[in-house]
């Protein structure tokens, strides 16, 4: 396939957001300062489970500067519970614990004071009388009928327990020559942005409107706030012109916004709440999946993998939220990039007395990719086949697209073999093997890691109706609105916050491309939710596809109008005209310029075609491509686009010290047409860094008493620039047939395969010792201890 040539798309242009961020002129939630603002500090529970008997706030209330103390009982009676993804009405969640505490760190009440410091002083004066209850931390234990239910009203800890069988699994297992089974565990980690979650809310009683500024990345945020607070949808105004200091999924903040919105309305003063690090880590409700996989694969002696049985048990934490859905998205790529004929999938989500889980980069896909790639390594090891050759044998071939997988999704396009070939060449695979052996000769444990995986993109969420039959949502739109002002300058509105994905650059590049004008001269605004068209925020690697798509379609509508005006003005049929560089050209050489059209549209109604409205504005509300059906028989097509990535890693460690050093990291990435190369590369680098953390360092670990041991950056270790090696990105472009420019998603890239690749490399390094690491993160101490135990 030949790549189309673009003027602005795919060109090396600086993201337009860079200027304000580099200059320190971003507008973050902590920059919002309202007159007469009050501050909030929440009181955290020390118990992982307890019944609250009494909260004595009397001493706190008498302190100077303390305005109010909100308890769970108060807010539980005043607002609606937060939305659940599944049909689990008895698993109720409020911003503060109501009657019962369900995890250590959960907020029990909130002090409102003239300053955050005073609020923290007051927290120390509140006396909680609570009776500790039995608790459960482990997901397998939570499954047992004997385990203490986190929500007794719900009856058990099971939120989701669904078995899917796609294709002839039983038959394939019987007929295949071999099978093997294993289990792996994906540790609880998250994206942990440097900016914690924050929200400012202000109630204007004369206008009956709640203004909200938040560091948020949440679909339908204003709707959810309004529903919880019993307000009309148009009484909540979320300001989208707030920069978000990192998110990649977790900045949902719905419990925070309802709490602060409630207080703002009650007290009639602006309220600010910015989580501190401890609050963010323990009770920001932003942990990622914690998942145990039991996998069985059936395969032939020649390496062909026929079938897979996967049981995925996810520890959702204390409340439901959207966590169980993170078992749903991987259904759309359940066979990874491989031709696996049939799959059974047992998805289980349980509550436990841990912090609540939230959406994290990849929405469950990275853990699943780790399980699939471990299966590939295990099969190769069983057959004593080369791991790379085994993958190449099983990969879907480029001539097989569109490719329908057993669970109902159709992969759009790809050339996986070509990407791998490019990576092997760029990384000089043969030399890499020699380097590995050389390191081994020097007494190091050296290994090569391999991972191939997919990034479903486009942000359809048909896993919702698939896992919750009461949910009939098939709409998952994004919008863009553009307007040419009376001086001829173009402004576009996007209707969501941006958490670093460069949406302003995306939209201006696309508009510039379609309208053939300089993107640098296009203004992008992010108005508030009441001035916005519907959208679903940047989730599921969707914005290049959806916001880029809506922007392109708006531009096409505007272009059509420009041509119509010109046709009328020049007295020529529109079909005979050509559009170039913002101007409309007639075959006879006459030119109807952009400014001519502006003049007519804004000031000369009498010269517009009959029936045409004045002005030069257009908008588009775009449905996700290919998203047009509800699930049938446990199958559904989910995402329009599937990006591919292939990771190749060489790492080595001293057998006593056990600290993996990455010597070489190459990733091949095909996300179709790239809109802005710098943004895509940046996200891939960041994703790989995040994956290095997930594989080696990062974990929200709990002690046996239910206390979070990694509450700050002292113990929750994220890789620094010292631990992230230079990364070579090898680009390939297989355009998607479903999108305007052939673009696919890339927001989750890197992270989806790097943990699998690093695990693969470490396991390769110790393979001669017959050691296997089956849990992430793989800490250096665990590596060294395992080797020492073998030698002993």
């Amino acid at each position: 396939m030949v790549e189309k040539k673009y003027k602005f798309i795919s060109q090396p242009r600086h993201p337009s957001e860079n200027r304000r961020f580099v200059a320190g002129r971003g507008n973050f939630v902590a920059d919002i300062d309202r007159p007469n603002m009050l501050h909030v500090a929440p009181l955290s529970s020390h118990y992982p489970a307890a019944i609250i008997n009494n909260i004595d706030i009397s001493e706190a209330m008498m302190m100077d500067g303390v305005i109010d103390v909100i308890t769970g009982a108060e807010i539980g009676a005043a607002i609606q519970p937060l939305m659940n993804g599944l049909d689990t009405p008895k698993v109720q969640r409020f911003p503060l614990a109501v009657n019962r505490v369900r995890y250590a760190g959960e907020w029990v009440c909130a002090v409102v004071a003239e300053s955050r410091a005073i609020a923290e002083d007051a927290l120390e004066k509140i006396i909680i009388d609570a009776t500790p209850q039995p608790f459960v931390l482990d997901a397998e234990e939570a499954l047992l009928p004997s385990s203490p239910p986190v929500h007794p009203e719900h009856g058990s800890n099971i939120l989701l327990d669904r078995k899917f069988v796609w294709g002839t699994v039983g038959e394939d297992f019987v007929n295949a020559e071999h099978n093997l089974s294993f289990s792996v565990i994906w540790g609880r980690n998250s994206t942990v942005p440097i900016e914690t979650f924050g929200v400012v809310a202000e109630w204007n009683g004369w206008d009956n409107i709640l203004d909200v500024w938040a560091s948020v990345q949440m679909p339908k945020y204003s709707d959810q706030i309004a529903r919880c607070l019993n307000l009309p949808g148009n009484a909540v105004r979320v300001h989208y012109d707030v920069d978000v200091g990192g998110s990649y999924g977790v900045k949902r903040g719905i419990k925070h916004a309802t709490l602060i919105g409630y207080i703002a309305r009650k007290l009639g003063r602006p309220i600010r709440f910015i989580e501190d690090r401890l609050e963010n880590m323990r009770a920001g409700d932003a942990h990622g999946p914690e998942r145990k996989f039991n996998v069985e694969v059936a395969f032939e002696s020649d390496g062909n993998v026929r079938s897979m049985r996967m049981r995925a048990l996810d520890n959702a934490g204390a409340y439901a939220g959207r966590a169980p859905f993170q078992l749903g998205k991987p259904i759309s790529a359940i066979v990874g990039p491989y031709q696996i004929n049939s799959v059974s999938y047992h998805a289980i989500s349980v509550t436990s007395n841990k912090t609540v889980q939230e959406a994290v980069r990849g929405f469950g896909q990275a853990p699943t990719n780790y399980a699939i790639e471990t299966a590939m390594d295990r099969v190769a090891s069983f057959l004593k086949m080369d791991r790379l050759a085994l993958r190449q044998r099983n990969l879907i071939r480029s001539d097989q697209f569109p490719y329908l997988i057993p669970s109902g999704s159709t992969y759009d396009s790809g050339d996986y073999h070509a990407v791998i070939d490019k990576v092997l060449a760029a990384a000089d695979y043969k030399t890499l093997l020699v380097k590995r052996d050389h390191l081994r000769d020097e007494g190091m444990m050296a290994g090569i890691g391999i991972a191939a995986c997919l990034e479903p993109s486009g942000g359809n969420s048909s896993f919702e109706p698939l896992l919750n039959e009461a949910n009939k949502t098939s709409t998952w739109m994004e919008s863009c609105q553009i307007n040419v002002d009376g001086l001829g300058h173009l402004t576009a509105r996007i209707h969501t916050t941006s958490s670093g994905q460069g949406h302003e650059t995306l939209v201006s590049t696309v508009l510039g491309e379609v309208l053939e004008i300089d993107p640098s001269n296009i203004r992008i605004t992010r108005p508030n939710s009441l001035e916005s068209l519907p959208g679903n925020s940047p989730v599921g690697s969707r914005m290049a596809i959806m916001l880029g798509g809506a922007a392109a379609r708006s531009a096409e509508k505007l272009k059509a109008k420009l041509i119509k005006i010109a046709a009328h003005s020049l007295g020529i049929d529109a079909e005979k005209l050509t559009y170039a560089g913002g101007n409309v050209l007639a075959p006879d050489g006459r030119k109807h310029t952009w400014q001519d059209a502006v003049e007519l549209a804004h000031r000369q109604f009498h010269n517009l075609p009959e029936g045409m409205d004045p002005g030069l504005a257009a908008f588009d509300i775009m449905q996700v491509p290919t998203g047009n059906a509800l699930p049938v028989d446990g199958k559904v097509h989910m995402y329009p686009c599937y990006s591919f990535e292939f990771h190749l890693v060489l790492l080595a460690f001293d057998p006593v010290i056990g600290r993996p050093e990455i010597h070489s990291y190459t990733v091949g990435h095909d996300c179709g047409t790239v809109i802005n190369p710098a943004i895509v590369s940046g996200m891939t680098y960041g994703g790989i860094a995040h994956g290095i953390g997930a594989a080696l360092l990062e974990e929200f670990a709990y002690d046996p008493n239910g206390q979070l041991m990694t509450q700050s950056f002292l113990d929750y270790l994220m890789p620094s620039s010292h631990e992230v090696p230079p990364i070579q990105i090898v680009k390939h472009c297989t355009p998607s047939p479903h999108t305007v420019f052939g673009q696919k998603g890339s927001g989750e890239s890197g992270y989806l395969g790097s943990p699998a690749a690093i695990s693969s490399a470490i396991n390769d390094a110790v393979s001669a010792l017959d050691i296997r690491f089956e849990k992430l993160p793989i800490r250096m101490s665990a590596i060294s201890d395992a080797i020492a135990n073998k030698s002993a």
Partner: protein, 290 residues
């Protein structure tokens, strides 16, 4: 993460600082603040008076005596790292300082602050114990001197007088011929180490080892010296180094946590101690004859 209310004073002299200390039983000294400020923010430390010693000029001096290099309590780690006198006479400390935090934390963090804070994984404390540094506190008008090997008694716990102000740390000068080695292992560069080791061998003019000092840190409640005097009678070959370290380290108690098992800490500390000794030995053996 807001500290409890406290008063703040910034005296100009040690005497003033000591007077302030005597005036309030819940006072704390603030030096570089790289540990204390986060502890204040998390309310783990709750002083009612904070005495900032940054403006006491005498405390920022590095002085050479006949036997020691005396480093004032307020000498910043970055300054110490670049100080010629320290590079020449306390090369082990110079090596260790490369591992202390990052450039921004070293720019504020002090030698004295690290000693007084007594983090079990602190590099400066490990060097002090290894070399037997002299730690001087001023209480009122009196100086109290402590031997570093007896100073640290637990995590963030020392025998320092509660009403005293650390004024200087005296590190013994090396002999003319001396080799040093410092190694640590951490999950990330400059993290709190999981194990660390420091070694210094002083040689006489004939090239025979006069004193051998080895210390291990980060593995127990405080840095400790290993007894390797047995090595003085050997030619410092690898086998005897390994055997001596192995024996010496058996008695050291190690801690177990999320990041590393107790066995790991002991195993790696021994590994690093051997490496540190080998490096110290090889530095001299490879050094050109004077």
């Amino acid at each position: 993460m807001k500290p409890v209310n406290f008063d703040y004073e910034r005296p100009r002299t040690i005497d003033e600082a000591c007077e302030l200390l005597a005036s309030n039983s819940n006072a704390r000294i603030l030096a570089g603040g790289q540990s204390l400020i986060p502890m204040l923010s998390m309310r783990l430390s709750r002083p009612s008076l904070l005495i900032d010693i940054a403006h006491i000029k005498d405390l920022s001096e590095i002085v050479a005596t006949d036997t020691h290099i005396e480093i004032g309590a307020m000498v910043r780690q970055a300054v110490a790292k670049n100080a010629k006198m320290i590079q020449e006479y306390i090369p082990l400390l110079s090596k260790a300082l490369h591992h202390v935090g990052h450039p921004p934390t070293r720019a504020r963090g002090t030698i004295g602050g690290s000693i007084a804070h007594a983090d079990p994984s602190a590099e400066i404390a490990l060097v002090a114990v290894t070399l037997g540094a002299e730690i001087t506190y001023r209480v009122g008008d009196d100086d109290h001197m402590f031997d570093a090997t007896e100073f640290f008694i637990g995590p963030m716990l020392t025998v320092a007088p509660p009403d005293g102000c650390l004024v200087k740390v005296g590190f013994p000068k090396t002999s003319k011929i001396c080799g040093t080695g410092f190694y640590e292992v951490a999950p990330r560069r400059s993290d709190y180490a999981l194990a660390s080791a420091a070694a210094q061998i002083n040689f006489d003019s004939k090239g025979a080892a006069k004193t051998i000092r080895v210390g291990v840190g980060s593995i127990g409640d405080f840095p400790e010296r290993l007894d390797v005097d047995h090595l003085l009678n050997t030619d410092l070959n690898d086998e005897s180094i390994i055997a001596t370290v192995k024996t010496a380290i058996t008695e050291i108690e190690t801690v177990d946590d999320l990041h590393a098992s107790a066995e790991y800490r002991k195993r790696v500390a021994a590994h690093l101690a051997v490496k540190a000794l080998q490096t110290a030995r090889d530095e001299v053996r490879e050094a050109p004859a004077k």
